[in-house]
Amino acid sequence: MTDIKPKFRDEAMSRSHGTSLPNLPQSQTMKTLPVAPMVKPSASMVSLPKFDFVKDDQVDSLDPTLTNSSKKRHTLLQSPSTQSIQHSSLSLIDMYRDQSSGSQESDTATDIMALNVSGAMISEVSLINGSQSTFASAHDLLVLRNSRTNGSKVRLCIEESRTVISSNRDRYGFKKATNFITEEQYNNWWIGYASHCARRKRKWQDLMIKNGLSLNNDSPVRFPARSEKLKRYIRKGIPAEWRGNAWWFFAKGPEKLKNNQGVYDTLVESTLHLKNKDTEIIERDLNRTFPDNVHFKPDRVDSSHESNEETALIEALRRVLVAFSAYNPKIGYCQSLNFITGLLLIFMDEEKAFWMLVIITTGYLPGVHEVSLEGVNVDQGVLMLALKEYLPEAWNVVSNIRFDDQCSGRNDLKNHDFLLKLPPVTLCTSSWFMSAFIGILPIETTLRVWDCLFYEESNILFKVALSVFKLIEPKIQHINDEMEVFQVIQNTPKSILDPKDLFDIMFKRRIGFNNLTQDEVVRCKKYVADRRQRAHVDGTSDTGDVNFNRQLLAESLWQPDLYGFKRGLPGVHWNNNLTRKMKSKIRRNNNHS
């Protein structure tokens, strides 16, 4: 009974090796797609594009003739409607909610006309590609187009503070009250924060004008060049109405999209009827993404009858997640991507949200959502090392949490063995990283974190985590019960309503988290990854193994100081570990003499 194989693990392994869509024929790659548009259709020629772009750079380097032909095909399908989509995405966030009602009808009319034009072409294309059921039919494309247009028409009501106070929802449509914050607390805080936002926006407008950049009808698409001043402005918050554009700009979205024109549309069309393990979980998560947001779950008008109608954002969420699962089979779908995508969709249209998701999962949270979740473990290892270095008192409490006596005691801290077998507290903190603090911090605080994230890169996530622990530190000093400690760690971030409480710690020079630069994080990640990799290659991660222990011993001989963080003066590599060792050595010598 005890030697039952963990079947899940095996499945996960095979899953990570599978590279293509189960429902798409795999025999032909994109390169074999007929280039000439009017090849005679034959039954044997079922050639569908194979979407296994593991590295998106590959997409750019595909056969140019092919890219052209697929681009052409895409233009045929999309050209009549792209205009209307673009048009509406310009003013995605509207200051005034009731402005949109007039133009809506005319848009729909254009859409229907557009469909009649493209409908004929679609049937031609589907003939060329063979009539596979996974591919979209003309009717599907009509539904798809309408839904996409509706999705980009979602208006957010970022209104003046007075308006918001009379409502039980915030300016993004989230319920103000949570399990940790009451509506009253929210309103009391909002009065001050609203004026902060208004003040910051005026500053931003001045900055933009000084830099000769257009405000583009309150939806600027270009932002100033990198500078200390800009960084300061971003740390104090990007105006909410500009957020989508600003994130997109700073995360280098425009370049990504330029190199992948039409890829998203093709993906969406080809995955319209995709059914597999990933899509099954996606379906289950759609309604559990932001049930507290009106754009995802509208207020029920009639409480007796449950409406099954999906909102435009839920439909967009499905398309982006399914397309992404096909685009990156190494990740497929991972719970928490739903939250990241959901938040993106509130601020930008779905094609941009898709590419942002690609950028986030490769650049900002690499490997974190892969089947093995190894990226999470690496990040957690870095966080633990940073905690040990920057907040030794908190680390002292946190590293003592053991769920049972079977775990080895504190002696495994000496050789950084905790990197191989992460401390239980990482159960809690790994979700901080996986969802980039969505649902962990209150929404306005999360958004401020995201502002910095896309300008300053992933070190921000570690700084945020450390700052949260700084807030936790005094609370857990005198708690003996480890579960109570766990509860404090779990709950503290959820009540940081005012971003100031977090940001004051994060960037205050005296506290010193500024030393945790991006270079440092990258270096430390490499150390942790190597360390874990080596332990893995050596055959087993079981620390009870004799050979393994011998290996560790050997390692500690040639690598005595393990990892040293850079501290203090810029450019000077200060190793606290060394200092401590020297001090104790001197002390010992003194005692002897």
Partner: protein, 205 residues
């Protein structure tokens, strides 16, 4: 084993994504149901104090993410568990089939001393739905539980609070028994060790 010692029971709730693990736990701990639960990422825990035959115990309930890949993160907290709750959704046969996988995975990861006697409780959730939507019959589930060594089975509705207290009462009692067995066993083992040592000494002479 003083009776003044706070009795802490650790309970792990496992099952496929979307079967209602969070809802069950919330209904038991806070007595409410909401349509607004978000998908659980990583792990989450709640505490509840209750009295079992004059004895006050604290239940520590661990809610987990249902997606397979999260398994690799969860290992640490399986250890030291006193009871494991396996949840499936009566409208989803796949989630029922996976119950035995979850059980196996738990036994492997938790490294329990007596796998045959470890207390599991099986819960079929969402029985509030129309009969036509129920795809896992009670009979099938009963058969399954009997085969696995007469595991207790409950059909519940977290939404309408059906059978929740009954299920968690059994969970708590079984967990308590496991906790006491463990303590007893530890003492027993110590006794054996002492004997062995003295025997060895005897042989050496």
């Amino acid at each position: 084993m003083s009776s003044r010692k706070k009795t802490l029971l650790k309970v792990i709730i496992l099952g496929d994504s979307g079967v209602g693990k969070t809802s069950l736990m919330q209904q038991f701990v806070n007595g409410k149901f909401s349509q607004q639960y978000k998908a659980t990422i990583g792990a989450d825990f709640l505490m509840k104090e209750l009295v079992l035959d004059d004895k006050t115990v604290t239940m520590q309930l661990w809610d987990t993410a249902g997606q397979e890949r999260f398994q690799s993160l969860g290992v640490a907290f399986y250890r030291g568990a006193d009871c494991c709750v396996l949840v499936y959704d009566v409208t989803n046969p796949k989630s029922f089939e996976n119950v035995s996988l979850w059980r196996d995975e738990f036994l492997v990861q938790a490294n329990v001393k007596n796998p045959e006697n470890f207390p599991f409780v099986v819960i079929g959730n969402k029985i509030d739905v129309d009969e036509s939507k129920k795809l896992v019959s009670l009979k099938k589930a009963q058969q399954f539980c009997a085969n696995l060594g007469n595991l207790p089975l409950f059909q519940t509705s977290a939404k309408e609070a059906v059978n929740i207290d009954q299920a968690f009462d059994v969970i708590a009692r079984n967990a308590l028994q496991q906790e006491e067995n463990d303590e007893f066993q530890d003492e027993f083992n110590d006794a054996i060790n002492i004997n062995l040592e003295s025997e060895n000494q005897g042989c050496a002479c």
